[in-house]
């Protein structure tokens, strides 16, 4: 029920938030550094910098994400909708990091896969934790 609708809400949310701009900037900086240095940065950097950036971006956009969960729950979102919303956001972040770095052609396929996997898990876990937090706030505040 209405999964495509949730995808469109998530993409609009991200497109209008400032967190995503930071993610794009970080991604481009990593790609540019890689090109300037002329070789792939250490594996730890490849993995940790985007994850750190995703965390920062989500923290910047946390108010918007909160309002989305809040609004979705009120008007009848199910767990399926929330997972769809979370995975959409994760995929957008993955595309933002993977595409510019793929353009540098310095990384191996396993490196791309591990980065994508880490990003996916990070974002989905964060958003699901947030969903549970939202459920809790609904049932315990404003007596």
């Amino acid at each position: 029920m209405g999964v495509q609708g949730v995808v469109s809400i998530a993409i609009k949310q991200l497109a209008r938030g400032s967190g995503l701009r930071i993610a794009i900037l970080t991604s481009l900086v990593i790609a540019a550094l890689t090109l300037v240095v002329g070789e792939a940065p250490p594996r730890m950097l490849i993995l940790s910098l985007p994850v750190f950036s995703v965390l920062s971006s989500i923290l910047i956009d946390v108010r918007n994400i909160r309002s989305s969960f809040y609004a979705l729950i009120i008007v009848g979102a199910t767990v399926k909708h929330i997972i769809t919303y979370s995975i959409t956001i994760a995929l957008v972040y993955i595309i933002i990091y993977i595409v510019p770095m793929a353009a540098t052609k310095f990384f191996t396929l396993p490196e791309y896969c591990s980065l994508a996997g880490v990003l996916l898990m990070t974002v989905v876990t964060l958003l699901l934790i947030y969903y549970l937090y939202m459920k809790r706030t609904f049932t315990s505040v404003n007596i």
């Binding site: 209008r16 918007n64 199910t78 007596i143």
Partner: protein
């Protein structure tokens, strides 16, 4: 047990509803044996001081929270019998809840916010567009459709929240402190709007408020003090 002849006219039925929360390690009983009936197409005001259990009661009726004990029936659905999915569908089709802070997505436009319940319900695009347009025109928001919600005034945001709550034609509308963030002039407009909605669609409206002035716009008032509900004016059915 509600008699079947009465049940046709009853929109919300609460029987012996109890709810407690653990606050700082201490168990606080917020609702104590709440029993009441709210009839179809009635506007009911629930009035009481802060912390008296008004919001908890509204959330239980909306299916956002569950009672520890007792029975809640909304438009014929026994909420105790519904799982998470059932409650979500109830909120999407039968009951609309407007929280005090409106619960809008700040960086989406008026149109996009009002469209959300229909998107979740998987309503076809052409039907969705017609319905959103109708509701926005009804609410006098037709000229604001592409404005981002965060740029609207308090009164306009309230109207967007009401528009979103009407878009799926619910039978029950629940509003938590709908005038708390408005000046008195806008508060009167909102109160009159609820009356118009009831008259036009036959919607049952429940308003939670700490503002006694708002009670002059309702058919019936219930007073909640220390988790106990008391009627302070007779039901419409009795007045007739």
């Amino acid at each position: 047990m509600v008699g079947s002849e009465n049940m046709v006219e009853v929109a919300i039925f609460l029987r012996d509803v109890w709810k407690s929360y653990r606050v700082s390690g201490r168990l606080v009983t917020v609702l104590k044996a709440v029993t009441t009936r709210i009839y179809k197409s009635e506007i009911v005001g629930i009035h009481g001081p802060s912390g008296s259990g008004k919001t908890t009661l509204l959330k239980i009726i909306a299916g956002l929270d569950r009672p520890d004990r007792g029975e809640v029936i909304v438009d014929g659905y026994n909420l105790n019998m519904l799982d998470e999915l059932g409650l979500a569908m109830l909120r999407n089709t039968v009951v609309s809840y407007i929280p005090q802070d409106y619960g809008l997505i700040e960086n989406l436009t008026v149109w996009e916010n009002v469209e959300i319940p229909l998107l979740l319900a998987g309503v076809e695009k052409s039907v969705r567009e017609n319905r959103v347009r109708e509701v926005l025109e009804y609410m006098g928001l037709a000229d604001k459709i592409s404005i981002v919600v965060s740029r609207l005034s308090g009164g306009e945001r309230q109207r967007v929240a009401i528009a979103r709550s009407l878009v799926n034609t619910p039978t029950v509308l629940l509003a938590d402190e709908p005038t708390a963030n408005l000046d008195w002039e806008n508060a009167i407009k909102v109160a009159e709007l609820f009356k118009k909605i009831r008259d036009d669609f036959g919607t049952t409206v429940v308003i939670v408020t700490h503002d006694p002035r708002l009670l002059e716009f309702v058919d019936r008032s219930l007073n909640i003090v220390d988790g106990t509900l008391k009627e302070i004016s007779p039901p419409v059915s009795m007045r007739r």
